[in-house]
Structures are given as structure tokens and as C-alpha cells.
Symmetry: C2
Subunit: 624 residues, 2 copies
């Protein structure tokens, strides 16, 4: 499809926006009028810039408060339109968006609306231009696409068509099914927007909280499917009003935008019958990876941090089971948890260490077909990462995740030692304390800057096949934290995305040290948390203290055996219950750079992350 984006979706000056749009591989753009009004050049200059960048000016928008007006206002608006047509011709735009009237002067008279739009289309036709009519969700008389289509049909002018925007339909919970019945060639333009479900005034929602398809909660896939079923062959475009995007560096936003369209196309392509002839070509990347677990986590350290982290890991019950044959890289293992501590100079890890201090620099994800997973990621606009592979070493395809860490795709067929046998001298009886019963990586929690959350949600879905859960807000003593889990279907890979809405929380301070995006903590799963915690305390692991008031309150909230509560109180363990099961957990004190570990036990089918208890942890950290 011809891919387009509205200039309002990006930060920067108009020229900077167009350069970012071109760099991300778009075919064209919608010119948001205010961007042109503030542009320090003529319409012809803008057209020349667009041509130089290989971009078409797909739409001039918006033209407001036109249809269904008294005669005097109608005549004035026609003159206004002529001036805009002048500009469109000078810049090479062929289509104008006319959005439904919000003026109190508008009259509820579809016949009048149709007649006036007919007149506008006739003026456009005289210049070889076209007009598209769009129903705004907050339009005074016309708020649904069905109403707008009725007016376009009545107007019956070849230069007048319909413009669809998924936000206006889905925000009103209107049914998009009827779109499939509209003649495709009368749909002149398609704007796709997603959004989180929010209980607020639709205008405020629309102006501040839209997001790219795949970042929100709308069924955008069905919307596009219905539009294609109608026979639509025009541009696929994005018009996203989002307060955060307004301040995000526009090159990053433009990549997210392109990824969202490619992902949307690929989802629709999977739905539509392959046998049916289609007038448009939809993007078809390799399939989403079938992930089966977190194979390893790699830390970037220097020699000193390698020693202190190694000592901590041994306290946590890990054994040092491998020494790399040629590099300053050590492998630690406990149960199915593999942690790599990389202190090799002149490596990617060292670059990350130099930039951010001791931190996680890579995740390994287990999958059947690592090559296909990496190809999928690259097709979805992730950067590939090519590590040098020594003779006899296993090649592990890798990509760069948002923020700069690596994701490696590890072949499931390699088994437990296969990845390490070639590169490491392995010794299962290497130095270490006794096993503390930590068996698997339950989840990895990331601390992100506010403008990285939507980026990560889309990356998680489109590249890794992880689906987001509920978005929660947690109270730190110095501000709110927004937290959202993403996980694959069998829950063998879980990430938790945390964003500090305040500059003053511990999460925000850690983020500043880490450059804006980092692993915040690592949760390790065990079968018996009391046994594991006793073992870990005996090894000298320090846990975040939890107020006795917490356990007093817990006893009043949840019907629990008194003995269990006393065990939790004594051990410092926190508790959450959902209808599906229970969650017992405890946090270690932080070590370098604010990073810490969580030990968790899941009972039955508990499927979340104990977010209700995070404030107790954050308050304890603030009091220490």
C-alpha cells in the first residue's frame, strides 16, 4: 500500500518532520495546515522539498466548518476554499480533507450539506482537485461514517468522496462492518489511529491520546479489513494527536509509525483469504516468533563490577559454571536461569557499560527458528546486530531493541548446554553457594522514559509477539509509576514495562543514570518461597524490609490462614491474590545502578506481577 502520515503526528519544524518521514520510508504525507501556516517558505517551496525527499503531498487538512451552513457563511467558505486550492496546486496536493462541521451555526440538514459539498467539489474539479468528507466524532450533526457517506452519496459528484478515520468510528463504538458496503472508489482516503480505552470526553481523548495502530486497545485490524473489503486502494495513513509524540525525537516516532503500518498490514493479510484477488499488496513479513522462554540475561560490567555482581549471584545460589574460552565472560547458572557476566574490553557490552554503568545489555529469547525471528524483526524495522562469531562458536542472530540493548534469538534445539558448550569451558560444579531453588526467569522489568512506553508496546507486539496486559498506576512516595506487563501466550516470556510519570521517583533517578531505558529488576521463580528465602538469607542476601503494618492489613483484606501470614511476616514476603491464583514475592536490596532481584512463587494460574505491593516496596526503599 501507499503509506502516509500526517505531519501533526511528529515533533519538530515542518522541514524536520518531512525529513524524518522520508527517512522512515513513507511514500507521502498529510499536510496539517498549522504546520504550513508556520512554515517559513511558500507552497511551491514546500512542494519542491517534498519532491526532493521523494514524498507525495497526499492530503491537505483540515478544512473546517464548511457544510450545512447558512448561505452567507457558505459563500465565504467557498472563497476560503479557493485560497486553499491555490496553495494545494502550488505544492502539488490533490486532495483536501473537509471534516464535519462543529459550528453552532450548522443546521441539521443532510440535503443542504450535500448541496454545499457538491458546490465545493465542483470548484475543486475545475482545478483537477478532489475533496474528501470526514465525520468527526464530535461533529455537530454528522459524527458517524454512515452519516457522512449518506451526504457524499446524495452530493453525487465524482470529485467528492469519503474519508475514514478509525478513531472517529471506534471511539464512538460505532460498528465498522458497514464500511465494506461502500463502493471502494468513493473512499478517497483512510486514516488509521489506535487509542487506549479512556473514560473521557471524546474531543480531549482525540486531541491528546491517540496512538499508532498496535499501541492501543482499538480493533484497528477489523477496521482496515472492512475498508479493503470495500475495494479501497488509496493510501494507508496515520493521523495521531498525542502529547508524548509532540515531544519525542521525530526519527524514533517515524520508525514506530512505519512499524505500526507494517504490523497492521501483516495482521490484515493473515485474515484475508489468500485466494481472493486483492487490488492492494499488503506487507508480508516472516511470521511472529514462537518464543519458549528467556534463555539468558547478559550483564555489561567492568572487572570490579564483575567481581561484585559475581559475589551477589553466588549469594543468590548461582554457580559459576562457565568461563569463556577467549573472553572475559563468565556464565552463572541456577535451575534453568542462565546469567552471563560480560567484562570483555572492546565489546558491545563494554560500550554499554561505559555509557550506562553496570547494567543488563542483552536478553536471549528461546525460539524454534532464530533466523526467521531476526528476519521478522528486521522486516519490522528493527536494526540487526552482527556480533563477531569465532571459529566453532554458535551464531546467535540478534537485533537492537528500543533503547539500545540487544535481543538474541536462541535456537530451542540447542538445549541447555548447546549454546554454551562451544564457547565456554563448562563446569557444573564450579564455585558457588548451594542452590537456593530459583528455577526460571519469571519476568524482566524495564524502567523506561515516558516516551518509550508506546514504542515498547508496539515492539513487543510486532517483533516479539508479546501481548500487553492491563495498564496500572502505582504510587511511589515521590510520584506515580505506570506499569504494564507484556507476555507471550504460554507466559514463558514476560516483560514488565515501567514508566515514571514523575522526575523524582527512584525509578526516574535510576533511569537518568541508565540513559533512559534499562532493566529495572529481574524476577526469579521458585517453588517454595519460604525455603528459598531462608536459604538466601542464610547466604547473606539482604531483602527490602516490609512494614509489619503491611501484614496486619493483609490479614484484614484477604481470608488467609493465620500461620501463613505469620510465615510471610517473618520472611518479609508479600502476597497478592487474583481469582486465578496467588502470588508470593520478595525484593532484594539494590546493588549497582539501582538494579535488584525479585523472588517469586506463582500458585495456580496467577497471571500478573503483584503490582498492588509495589508501593510497599517503593516506600520501603525510600525510607531506607
Amino acid at each position: 500500500m501507499h503509506r502516509s502520515i500526517a505531519t501533526v503526528s511528529l515533533s519538530g519544524t515542518l522541514r524536520q518532520k518531512l525529513e524524518a518521514i522520508a527517512a522512515a520510508g513513507f511514500d507521502g504525507f498529510e499536510l496539517f495546515e498549522n504546520d504550513f501556516i508556520q512554515f517559513n517558505g511558500s507552497a511551491a517551496t514546500l512542494g519542491a522539498i517534498a519532491r526532493d525527499l521523494g514524498l507525495s503531498v497526499d492530503l491537505y487538512q483540515p478544512f473546517r466548518d464548511f457544510e450545512a451552513m447558512p448561505e452567507l457563511q457558505f459563500r465565504r467558505s467557498l472563497e476560503r476554499a479557493e485560497r486553499k486550492f491555490d496553495l494545494m496546486q502550488a505544492m502539488g496536493a490533490r486532495l483536501m480533507l473537509c471534516c464535519s462541521n462543529t459550528s453552532p451555526m450548522a443546521v441539521d440538514d443532510p440535503a443542504r450539506a450535500a448541496a454545499q459539498l457538491h458546490a465545493l467539489a465542483e470548484r475543486a474539479a475545475q482545478r483537477g482537485l478532489r475533496v474528501g468528507f470526514e465525520a468527526l466524532a464530535w461533529g455537530r450533526c454528522t459524527s458517524r461514517y454512515g452519516q457522512a457517506w449518506d451526504i457524499v452519496r446524495r452530493a453525487d459528484h465524482p470529485n467528492l468522496g469519503l474519508i475514514l478515520d478509525s478513531f472517529h468510528t471506534l471511539s464512538l463504538k460505532d460498528d465498522p462492518a458497514g464500511i465494506a458496503d461502500i463502493p471502494g472508489d468513493k473512499i478517497f482516503f483512510l486514516q488509521m489511529a489506535d487509542a487506549p480505552l479512556m473514560a473521557m470526553d471524546v474531543l480531549q481523548w482525540a486531541r491528546h491520546h491517540r496512538s499508532f495502530p498496535g499501541q492501543g486497545d482499538f480493533d484497528v485490524v477489523t477496521f482496515l479489513e472492512k475498508t479493503l473489503q470495500a475495494g479501497y486502494t488509496g493510501p494507508l495513513s496515520l493521523e495521531i494527536f498525542n502529547d508524548v509524540f509532540r515531544e519525542t525525537p521525530n526519527r524514533r516516532t517515524a520508525v514506530d509509525a512505519m512499524r505500526s503500518l507494517l504490523y497492521l498490514e501483516s495482521q490484515v493479510r493473515e485474515r484475508l483469504d489468500d485466494a481472493a484477488p486483492r487490488a492492494v499488496t499488503l506487507f508480508s513479513p516472516p511470521p511472529l516468533p514462537d518464543l519458549s522462554g528467556i534463555s539468558f540475561i547478559e550483564f555489561a560490567v567492568d572487572e570490579a563490577a564483575a567481581a561484585s555482581l559475581g559475589a551477589l549471584l553466588q549469594q543468590l545460589g548461582f554457580r559459576r559454571v562457565g568461563q569463556h574460552r577467549s573472553k572475559a565472560v563468565v556464565l552463572y547458572r541456577q535451575g534453568d536461569v542462565h546469567l552471563i557476566v560480560n567484562a570483555q574490553p572492546d565489546s558491545f557490552a563494554r560500550e554499554r557499560f561505559d555509557a550506562h554503568g553496570a547494567s543488563v545489555c542483552a536478553l536471549g529469547l528461546r525460539t524454534d527458528d532464530p533466523e526467521a525471528a531476526a528476519e521478522r524483526a528486521v522486516a519490522m524495522r528493527s536494526q540487526p546486530h552482527h556480533s563477531p562469531v569465532g571459529p566453532g562458536e554458535v551464531r546467535v542472530p540478534a537485533i537492537v531493541a528500543p533503547g539500545g540493548n540487544l535481543v538474541h534469538f536462541v535456537a530451542s534445539a540447542l538445549g541447555r548446554d548447546g549454546l554454551y558448550a562451544a564457547d565456554f569451558v563448562l563446569d557444573d560444579d564450579g564455585p558457588g553457594a548451594s542452590d537456593a531453588g530459583l528455577q526460571a526467569i519469571d519476568h524482566v522489568a524495564l524502567g523506561l522514559d515516558i516516551d518509550q512506553l508506546d514504542t515498547w508496546v508496539l515492539f513487543s507486539r510486532a517483533v516479539l509477539g508479546l501481548e500487553p496486559g492491563e495498564s496500572l498506576e502505582l504510587a511511589d512516595p515521590f510520584g506515580l509509576i505506570r506499569s504494564r506487563g507484556v507476555a507471550n501466550a504460554d507466559r514463558s516470556v514476560r516483560l514488565v514495562l515501567n514508566v515514571s510519570l514523575s522526575q523524582r521517583t527512584r525509578t526516574a533517578r535510576t533511569l537518568r543514570r541508565s540513559g533512559g531505558g534499562a532493566v529495572h529488576h529481574i524476577a526469579l521463580r521458585c517453588d517454595d518461597i519460604f525455603e528459598s528465602v531462608a536459604h538466601l538469607r542464610a547466604n547473606g542476601v539482604a531483602f527490602v524490609p516490609i512494614s509489619g503494618n503491611y501484614h496486619d492489613d493483609l490479614a484484614t483484606r484477604i481470608d488467609l490462614d493465620g500461620g501463613l501470614i505469620e510465615r510471610m511476616r517473618a520472611a518479609g514476603v508479600l502476597f497478592d491474590r487474583s481469582p486465578a491464583g496467588d502470588y508470593l514475592h520478595i525484593y532484594t536490596e539494590s546493588f549497582e545502578n539501582g538494579l535488584f532481584f525479585e523472588v517469586v512463587q506463582r500458585v495456580d494460574d496467577y497471571d500478573a506481577y503483584g503490582a498492588i505491593n509495589a508501593p510497599a516496596r517503593m516506600a520501603s526503599q525510600a525510607q531506607s
Copy 2:
């Protein structure tokens, strides 16, 4: 009145919150249960801390989902209450807040609700405690104070009373008039909250956007008036859920909180008949100042900046009309505009210069009774500022405004030269370019950190008597700016409060240089903007260039004489029209620290600040 505040209203750990509450002069506090759950100490310890700080624990809150439940849940909740009563007794809290049930299990049966609350009150009575019942705006069956009062009345227990919260009543647009008819001794507690009017779900509004009385749009004065008319004599408290307060340093929030209560009391006191006997004593400060203009603006500079600013002011048509007799301070004048350039070492101005670079450090406001104005400000918890006064010099009372600049109150009776004659060697024919027709200070625009906006709105109202106008959001190329004017009744003093919602706008970058709060630009008024601009351009003043596209669009939007538009285009002048009148304006290029000037002409009764044109200015600044 006994003044109280809920711990949820402030950032920090519980101990830090209590210290801030005590430091601001509160008598007691409401303990928000989560703060206690996360507190690393017992209830007895908390009580001891409170006593040491001289604070009473006025309320334990909230106790949720209690009334109108099935028998089993009711029995369990009674046990839960007993555990909370244990804590209350240990900490010395005598009153518990029970808020109306939001559980889907609640039944709509006021008789059952009353019976269960009676049972709860009976349990409380056995320990000498009391229970207050409050209607949450989103309560399942009980959402209005009238319903809650009906249940309390039916329950008929001396230890059960009503708790009122202005947010829950005013957010539902419920009429507070009926409160006056409730027996005052059955109202056990009063929570006052203000809020901006917002079109959103009431629960989200309540949890994120409440503000202190005087910071929002609610008629909190009438609410308190009705409660006092009922005969209420209990605490006056604040329970404010606000995302920004959660991250604001709590000492500042606590001062704002106290100021809001003092202001509220003073407003109610003015309304109630002085002759009527009242059971409570309401705060009675000196009256609000009657301001009649901005007497002067003072700049903090060093010698180099004094020279460059002086040169710019002369280009702007100012004359150097005064040299201080003993200090490195110079007075510039044009029309009724007085600008003081202070380069005196070892002065307040030099402290500000050292901290923030060349910047405005003080405003002089003209008023009939400067002493009373300063006393009012100090009564409202502003810090007084005592400048050294030399022999023969005029004493000008001053206070510290939020952010650290000074506000001087200048006696109107001093006239044009009276303030300066004693201190300065005056020479009306001092060096300078010819007068450019700039006649008065139209407004002073401040750039504020996000957590200073509510502080400034309340300071403007309670200390200066300036009332806020509409709150607007303006698009900078790198994020949104929130802008709100405050002005006195005759509009002789106008300030514009600007907040950058993004870290990446020019406003935000200027703010970082200035330490978070600074004068952003100064608008000077003239009678004929074309004449003034021609004069200023001839003097070499550089203005922010405005795209010709702006004037093309202006011609399509507003029915203006073509000649006028061409004059505006040629001069680079921007235009706004309201039903009351027109506004013509232009911005100079920035000089030191991002500060710039605006030249404005008001036609008829235009009463705003041309905010619609600010994006054109910001885009131009970003493109230069």
C-alpha cells in the same frame, strides 16, 4: 478553625509528610491508610511522632465497602473494623472515615446500610471512637451527601455522623444548599477540595486532578459557608489527590495548602454577617490590595549584561533617565514604563544574577496601601523581604514570590517620580533613542515548572487579588505549553503563567537555565503598533519573522480590510479578534537567557493575550 490535611496530599515518606505538615502550621492531619501500611513503625510510634510534632491524628481513612452488604461480608467487615480500631487507639485517632460502598455486592437498601452503620458505630462507641460516613461521587448506591445524611439519620447513633467532601458534591453539580439544614453536630468532619472543570470520568478526575481551594474552578466558598451555617465546628481539612503534588517537594505543597485554607476562611468570613455569633473563628487577614499597575520591572545583571541590556532598551525607545546615587543601578523610562537595571554587587539582584544569569528579579506593583498589602501577603504565608533602606530613601515593602523573585508594593501616592527622586539622579533628557510610543507594561509572562502553576494561581489570587482566565494549551514544535492569564479587575496588572508540559520546548530549556521559574517575556503596550514597529525597526530592533503563510491564512479566517492585512504582513504583526475587540502584536528576538519583549496594541475591550498566535512565534523561533 482547627486546620488539617490528609497525608495523601503530599509527596514523601510518612515521616517527611508529617514534618512538612507541622512546619506549615497545621493543627492535625488525616492519616491515609496506605501511608500507614507502608510506614516502618507501629501505630504507637506514629502517635508519638505526631505528638512530638504537635499534630493531632484527626481522621483514619478510608474504610471501604462496608455498608449495605450481605450478612457474611458485613460480619467480616466488622472484624476488619476492629483491627483498624486497634490501630486508631494505639495512635490516638478518634474518628474513622467510612466511605460509601463501591462493591458490586452492595445492595440499594438504605435501611440495611443504616443498620450496619449503627452496628459499626456501636463497636466504635465501646472504645470511645466515632465513625463518619461519606458519600463518594462514584458510590454504587450512595453518591450524594443527601443520601448519606438520610442513612446517618436513620442509623441514629451518637457515634455516627456525616463526613462532607466538597469534591464529591461539586463534581456532580449537586447543590450544597441543603447542607445548611443538617444539624452541625452531626457533621463530624469536613474535607475541602477544589478542581479544574474537566470533561472526564469522575473517578479519574478525583484521583488525579483535585487541587487546593483557590486553585480550581469550584465554588468552594459557598460550600464552606453552608457547612458553617449548619453549625459545624470541627476541623477544616484538605484531601487532595493530585498527580503533580505527588512529586512536588512537600514543604512547598504544605505552604500552598495552608495558604488555601487561610484564603478560603477569609473569603467565607467576608460573606458571613459579622454581627451573627459564630462558633468558629475564621482567619481574618488585611484586605486584598487594590492594585493599579506595574510600577517597575527590575533586572538582575552584571556589568556586561547591564551594557547589552541598556543598549537594547535604548533601541526599544527607552531613555536612561536615572543613575542611582550610591549603587550600580540605572533607571530607564518610556511612557509609563519604568525598567530598573541592577548591577550592584552584594545585592539581592546580584544573588539572582549569580544563580540564574541576566533575568528579571523583581516587580513593583502600585497600590494605595503598600504596608497593608505586604501584611496581607505575610499573613497568607509569603515571606517578607527587607531591603536595606538608606537615609532619605523611600521604604518599599517587599515579599518573596514563588520561585524567589521579589514583589514590591509601591505607594500610588508617590506618583511618577516620587519613588525615584530620592534615590536617583534623574534626567528626563538622558541618553536614548527617540520615544517609540511604548506607553505601559501590558503584561509580564512567566515560564514556570509544571509544579509551580497551581502555586502561582493561588498566590495570584490570595496574595495579589488577581483572578485567573481561561487555561489554554499551545503547540510548540517540541511539545505543548499550558498558558493561563491572571489579572486584576481593572486589568492594570496582568501576568501570564506559562508551563511547558514537555522537557524539549524552548520554554522548558529557558526554564532549566533560569532554575525553574522566570520572566519569559515582557509585553509593552502602544497606541499604534505600525508606527511603533517602524520606529523600532529603524532603531535596529530585530523581530521574530512571521511566515507569509500566516497572513494568507489570516485573510481566509477573519474578515479584514486587505490593506490592513498587507500592513501587518509588511510589519510582521500578528492579529487576534474576540467579540470584545482586536489584538495586534509582535515579538522581538530574544536577548540574554531567552528573554524577549512583545509589543502590543489592544483595540476596544480585547481581554486576552493572542495565544492563538503563540505557536507561530514558537515555530519561527525553532526555525531560526
